[in-house]
Amino acid sequence: MLIDHLRQARQAFRRIWALIRKETYQVLRDPSSVAIGMVMPAVLVLLFGYGLSLDVSNVPVAVVFEDPSPDAHELAAGFELSAYFKPVFTTSMPLAEQLMRARRVDGIIRIRSDFSRHLKAGSADVQVIVLGTQANNARIIEAYAQGALGQYAARQAAEGRSPAPGMVKLRTRLWFNEANDSHYFLVPGLIVLIMTLIGAFLTAMVMAREWERGTIEALFVTPVRAGEILLGKMVPYFVLGLAGLFLCVVAAKLLFAVPLRGSLWVLTGVSILYLLVTLGIGLSVSSVTKSQFVASQIALLLSFMPAMMLSGFLFDLRSMPLAIQLISFLLPARYYVSLLQTEFLAGDVWSVILPNAAVLAVMATALLLLTRMATRKRLA
């Protein structure tokens, strides 16, 4: 009895192993799989590490002097010294506007002719015009310009030229990322993209291809069971996904000096869950559609863009309209991003980890069951 079971198990294992080997050869032999599975993660690590930045520096701005007074010059000096700006000085507003229309400058600081007189009277106004086309950039420029002007006002106050009133002063502390290092913020996004690519994108076509080419029928006449076919398809991509994860963790630690404050085991555990979900997405899309073109389009729609836009890595989910938030709850990426951000930066906060990991586990189970049901030994 027991021996029979053991023999069956051994045979099943041999069948699965043979499929895994076949699938692995296929992945390794196909340059496009290698490109997505190995080259792409490395390219993404470099792009995220060195390419993307929301920080602004050396913004070209035009400073328009309509007032030649020393006060105005002192104010302008603040822009020249700032690392954020690269000022161009002019005395003519139309010229500055022309520069901005030609996109030679991203902002105009206008010091009107009555600036000095008004300043002495106690309230002067400086006009700041920003190029709004790149809204986010414009906002940052606006904030920096206000900062530079604020410093000038503070200097004036310190020199006793104007009264120092009692005011509320903000002291800001950014927990988990005290130095506001953008790598801290990019690494979770990087990992979620790579895992999604390998899990959902690479596998989206593997089952559809077997159906389209009719080779699935050839597999069906062998003793291999449907579940074993799926397992054989999953394992190589699973290994590739884990390799991608460790590449990112090593890059995060060594290249970008991002701390891993939680434990590596928890990180690996939740990443395995996410990888199973994405493999489930890829394989179920592939098995249900049975068409390579449609599978590729759906995988694209479900995996890459949502991982970037609806995961909370780049844009704040709480600020989205309710309908969009509901959609984001259906997508696994938001849970994984929350887990990654917490694991890397905050530590093992179980009240965050457990609910998010539970959702991922449920999703993985449901998707893999769906795939299993769509892959019956039955001819279409």
Partner: protein, 372 residues
């Protein structure tokens, strides 16, 4: 000459029929761009509409309540809890229940009334440092307003320097005005490139490519026949995104449609050229899709869609010179928001034309030389 045109059109017609015959493929060509434009139009915003926060008010005075009332009245800040112990701060932040905690010290009102500066501590969840920075920016705007009101209420003169800020082309600096026009290029690039690459790859995979070759159709005509339908689909998709931007989101269109479509045609030509280039080096549909994606992903990241090109290191900026999406996004922004004309767009237009011509000729070369 007319025979060639006829053959190209016949092939293009066959391509279009093949694309739109299958209801699922028809669906996947029309609905996703509109759906994505709607979703990302709402989702992709750096502006915050709800900031949950908690407060640890150790002062509990009229002044601190006035400050908090200003915060709560802003419509953005949502007070989740009034904390009593400093140890609660950690729990609320750790569990992501709030974006930030405001801590007001005991001597807040006393210092304020005696003309000293009173500190308010803001502790923000830096796991998403971008959101945290925006939220603290909002707090500091509220605090400035509070300061101004406090000073004038106590007969003090305001700050000696004020700024008036105006913004061209996007008066409220809404991220959506930036994002939705960017999607015109982004969404069409991916599908146009993939559609072209996969349609050739499918013929190869199914063996019908060889059959095409024994017909009187020449390789260049096959390319044209594959390129035209993709460009048509791309134009339709771009138009649908454009319609969503104007009719649904109501983002005002400043330029001329002629200029925009001229730019988009060159962009689609470049996209189709890249698609044909991909298709000339791949053997299967899976390879076509994956290689198309390997191209599109860096293009999307380095296009200025998520982070501005000017903020990138110089070496990467050089790479963006061959990125058609970068030009497309620039062109759509400049025409859509700024109302730029042809003359201003020349620096963006000729690189696109160059990319289109060079990819198409490279693809033609590879097509011929793979055959032998």
């Amino acid at each position: 000459m007319f025979d060639a045109l006829y053959r190209v059109l016949a092939l293009a017609r066959k391509e279009l029929l093949a694309m739109f015959k299958d209801p699922r493929s028809r669906f996947s060509l029309i609905i996703p761009p509109i759906l994505q434009c709607l979703i990302y139009g709402y989702a992709a915003t750096f502006d915050l509409s709800t900031v949950p926060y908690a407060v640890l008010d150790q002062s509990r005075t009229a002044a601190s309540r006035a400050l908090l009332a200003k915060l709560d009245g802003s419509g953005v800040f949502d007070r989740v809890a009034d904390l009593t112990r400093a140890t609660d701060v950690k729990d609320f932040i750790d569990q992501q229940r709030v974006v930030l905690v405001l801590q007001i010290g005991q001597d807040f009102e006393r210092r304020l009334s005696s003309g000293q500066s009173a500190d308010v501590q803001v502790i923000a969840d830096g796991r998403n440092s971008n959101t945290a920075a925006t939220a603290t920016g909002y707090v500091s705007a509220v605090v400035s307003a509070f300061n101004a009101a406090w000073l004038s209420a106590h007969g003090r003169r305001g700050a000696p320097l004020s700024t008036t800020i105006r913004s061209w082309y996007n008066p409220n600096l809404e991220t959506r005005w930036f994002m939705v026009p960017s999607l015109i290029g982004t969404l069409t690039l991916l599908q146009t490139l993939m559609l072209t690459a996969m349609s050739v790859a499918r013929e190869r995979e199914e063996g019908t490519f060889d059959q095409l070759l024994v017909t009187p159709i020449r390789p260049a005509e096959i390319m044209a026949g594959k390129a035209l339908p993709s460009m048509l689909v791309g134009t339709t998709q771009a138009t649908s995104v454009l319609l969503v931007a104007q009719l649904w989101f109501g983002i005002p269109f400043a330029g001329s449609f002629l200029t925009l479509y001229a730019g988009l045609s060159l962009f689609l030509l470049a996209a189709v050229g890249l698609g044909l280039l991909v298709s000339s080096v791949v053997a299967t549909m899976q390879q076509a899709m994956l290689f198309a994606f390997v191209l599109v992903m860096p293009f999307a990241l380095l296009s200025g869609l998520t982070t501005p090109v000017e903020n990138m290191p110089a070496t990467l900026q050089y790479f963006t010179v061959i990125n058609p999406l970068r030009y497309a996004i620039n062109i759509t922004h400049r025409v859509y928001l700024e109302g730029a004309g042809f003359a201003q767009l020349l620096p963006e237009l000729w690189p696109l034309a160059l990319i289109g011509v060079s990819t198409l000729s490279a693809a033609a070369f590879l097509f011929r030389h793979r055959l032998s």
